[in-house]
């Protein structure tokens, strides 16, 4: 046998290479820079440079894209405007997330435990804290996750899909476990997220195996070709398709594959929640889009009801359970489930418009999510002695926040309004384009359910606004809450707030950019 070196089109992969390369460098930094503080700075700068650089590279790629895009390595990867759009989105979330990862309280505390291996409450933990240890590995881990997600949006091969899924999942599992406070919850969340994540990726893999078995190919194009020419393997194809889709629905957090969401969101350190909530959903949506359009489009009719049912179930369950939550992060988690439903509404009937609507939807949703969780990092409990503790995430603790910190509360209100889809926020335009996509394929009853769910969902968003602005600080609780100040987190809040407003008022440029991205490079590879 002979071996010829494969031709790889490296140029389109530049953004990816930058991020993954940076992550490798960051690991080396871990090994060679001893002082935690220096290490942290180095990591932060490195991450930001890499992410921004990658985003720049992606934009350059976008501008110089030759034709519809590039298929790398015989259909393993496809870089087209759609994938570049998603990559930029994920890079934005990655950048904002990194800023949050690096943010500290006034007292100089990070969001992450100083020593992951120490038992909560042990002397080791105290010692590690006192010595100023830091788990700066979170930065390379985040970089790997970003890289994996970018990959996830671009892969056009089932096996690569699986690998990419693991690339971004594994770091997230670890990151979830690294909270500084409430570490029991953090561990619990990580364990659940991990077990269920592994479980779902096994399902996805098994589905991929079926598809491979039925079509003899793992590349999307090959699968699509196999589906159109299948004889006697329909059941296998359908079962495989369903399992692959279920694996992705898990990552989107759609009912009934949603159960990990509240627990992981609540348990994870808030910066991780923010990053995960925004980026994972975007990446998984992108991957699902590509799988559905590039590989499983032939099963559109067979799978459409799946999207209908899952969308309705997600919207309703997410909404009704969020209604009764008293824990803020958990409430937002359930809201994210409802939003998963809204996302899936656009999948009904697989209209072309979904390809440009969903990036916008996820952009608006992701920005608001990042912003909301960034605000959460800034509101903290204070002990009787005046020491600042963890985040105040019980709803009641937010009473009167509008008086304590009008700008912060105002930003939070803006994000909530965006979640609720009130006009002049990005969320409204997102909902509008997503619903448009669904209605264009005739799924207006689904949209009707969606708006009813939105109306009900508005209740719990508004409840928080009522608490912040229309309720007074409870008697005797004036000192129980500390408004923290971290320049980095505040930057994230400000940036996301401005973007949410801008995308709500003048979404035109972004919409047309995504319109350009609304074309998939199909049919290449074997």
């Amino acid at each position: 046998m002979s071996f010829t070196t494969p031709e790889i089109a490296w140029a389109p992969l530049t953004p990816l290479l930058i991020v993954l390369g940076a992550s490798a460098v960051a690991i080396l930094v871990e090994s060679f820079v001893r002082s935690p503080e220096t290490r942290r700075r180095t990591q932060l700068v490195l991450s930001l440079v890499a992410l921004v650089g990658a985003a720049g590279a992606a934009v350059v790629q976008w501008a110089t894209l030759d034709g519809a895009g590039t298929v790398v390595l015989d259909g393993m990867l496809t870089v087209d405007r759609q994938s570049l759009a998603w990559q930029v989105l994920i890079l934005v979330f990655g950048t904002l997330g990194t800023l949050l990862f690096a943010s500290r309280t006034r007292a100089g505390e990070e969001a992450f435990t100083p020593l992951g291996a120490s038992a909560p409450g042990s002397s080791d933990e105290t010692l590690a804290r006192r010595k100023g240890l830091q788990v700066t590995e979170v930065f390379p881990l985040a970089l790997v996750a970003v890289g994996g997600m970018m990959l996830f949006t671009s892969v056009t091969d089932l096996i690569f899909l699986f690998v990419a899924l693991e690339v971004f999942s594994l770091p997230l599992y670890v990151l979830v476990a690294l909270a500084r406070r409430r570490r029991f919850l953090s561990h619990e969340g990580a364990l659940k997220y991990f077990l269920l994540g592994a479980f779902s990726s096994a399902i996805l893999l098994f589905g991929a195996a079926f598809l491979y078995g039925a079509t003899g190919s793992t590349s999307y194009a090959g699968v699509a070709a196999g589906i159109s020419s299948s004889t006697g393997t329909d059941a296998l194809i359908l079962a495989g398709a369903v399992m692959v889709v279920v694996g992705l629905l898990f990552k989107i957090g759609a009912v009934p594959f949603h159960s990990w969401t509240p627990d992981a969101y609540q348990g994870a350190p808030t910066p991780v929640t923010a990053f995960m909530g925004a980026a994972t959903k975007a990446a998984a949506t992108a991957a699902l889009l590509r799988v559905m359009y590039a590989a499983l489009y032939g099963l559109n009719w067979e799978l459409s009801w799946l999207f209908w049912v899952v969308a309705i179930a997600s919207m309703l369950l997410g909404t009704v359970v969020a209604l009764v939550q008293t824990e803020l992060k958990r409430m937002l988690a359930y809201s994210s489930i409802a939003h998963a439903g809204f996302i899936l509404v656009a999948f009904a009937g697989l209209p072309d418009t979904a390809l440009s609507a969903l990036p916008f939807y996820l952009a608006s949703y992701g920005l608001a999510t990042m912003g909301a969780f960034a605000v959460i990092t800034q509101v903290r409990e204070r002990s009787d002695e005046g020491t600042v503790l963890g985040e105040a995430t019980r709803l009641g603790q937010w009473a009167g926040l509008g008086k304590r910190s009008p700008w912060l509360a105002g930003a939070m209100a803006l994000f909530l309004l965006s979640f609720a889809g009130i006009p002049l926020t990005a969320g409204f335009v997102g909902k509008f384009v997503a619903f448009s996509a669904a209605i264009s394929s005739g799924a207006w009853p689904l949209v009707l359910v969606a708006v009813i769910a939105s109306a009900a969902a508005a209740f719990f968003y508004v409840r928080l606004i009522v608490l912040m602005f229309l309720t007074d600080v409870p008697e005797g609780q004036e000192d129980a809450i500390e408004i923290d100040y971290s320049p980095l987190a505040r930057t994230v809040v400000a940036v996301t707030a401005v973007l949410v407003l801008l995308l709500g008022i003048v979404p035109g440029p972004v919409l047309s950019a995504f319109e350009n991205a609304g074309v998939l490079l199909l049919g290449a590879g074997g």
């Binding site: 071996f3 494969p6 993954l20 871990e30 291996a117 990419a164 393997t233 296998l236 079962a239």
Partner: protein, 245 residues
């Protein structure tokens, strides 16, 4: 086509031990059974003309992965038993039903499918695998590197405790010991009265007082220690013989 006998052997070798996942109480038993399953799968790979993969399976799974499992099991305590009684109402039956249903569906789906088997056997030898790996799948391989790095970093972050306290010199250790009033050198050996079983008799310090902690705590707990007083008395009064006791 594959050997039917081989299939049934493999089937038995995998399914039966796999059932221990559901019914065995001790995690160690489960782990050992899964090792068997892995071996069975390796055999299946070989049968399915993937000999290299079969070898890798044995090396990676039985050799590394399952050993890692066992290692962790040892770490958390081998005799952590699990009560098989279900605590969530209905979970067991619905769970069994759901899993069985899932299996049944998958099997029935496969049963419904007519899929021809190619006459050509895939070449699963190392060279063919290597060429495939580094040709079309080279990017995957490269990305896999990140999976592995992540795994390593993740494991480190979660389990590795760096040296939090400075390493003590021997001098410091000694000083600390003296400071807390520990024995300057070694703990004295029991049994100054080397008679029949001197371990139950405390040693004597230079002043002749018994050093109580020289006797093993186990014996103390079992109340099998000797005061030593009577031996001394016997020494001072030779008329008293051991046999007198």
């Amino acid at each position: 086509m594959v050997n039917t006998v081989m299939f049934w052997i493999i089937a038995a070798l995998t399914v039966i031990p796999a059932l221990s996942l559901l019914f065995a109480r001790k995690a160690v038993h489960v782990a050992m059974s899964v090792v068997l399953v892995m071996v069975g799968l390796a055999a299946a790979y070989v049968t399915l003309s993937a000999p290299f993969l079969g070898m890798v399976q044995i090396v990676v799974y039985t050799g590394a992965v399952m050993m890692l499992f066992l290692f962790v099991l040892m770490l958390v305590g081998v005799d952590q038993r699990e009560d098989l009684k279900e605590t969530i109402k209905g979970q067991r039956w619905i769970g069994l039903l759901a899993a069985a249903g899932l299996g049944a569906f998958l099997v029935s789906i496969i049963g419904r499918v007519t899929l021809p088997t190619a006459d050509t056997m895939p070449s699963g030898d190392p060279e063919a695998v290597a060429i495939a790996l580094f040709d079309r799948y080279v990017l995957v391989i490269e990305v896999l590197g990140f999976v592995l790095i992540t795994a390593a970093v993740g494991a480190l972050v979660l389990t590795h405790t760096p040296r939090l306290r400075p390493r003590k010199t021997q001098l410091e250790v000694q000083r600390d010991r003296v400071r807390v009033g520990a024995d300057p050198v070694n703990k004295p050996m029991p049994g100054v009265y080397a008679r029949h079983n001197a371990l139950d008799v405390p040693a004597l310090d230079p002043e002749g007082k018994p050093i109580e902690h020289s006797v093993s705590r186990v014996l103390e707990i079992r109340h099998q220690t000797q005061e030593g007083a009577e031996f001394r008395a016997a020494l001072e009064d030779p008329s008293r013989k051991e046999g007198d006791r």
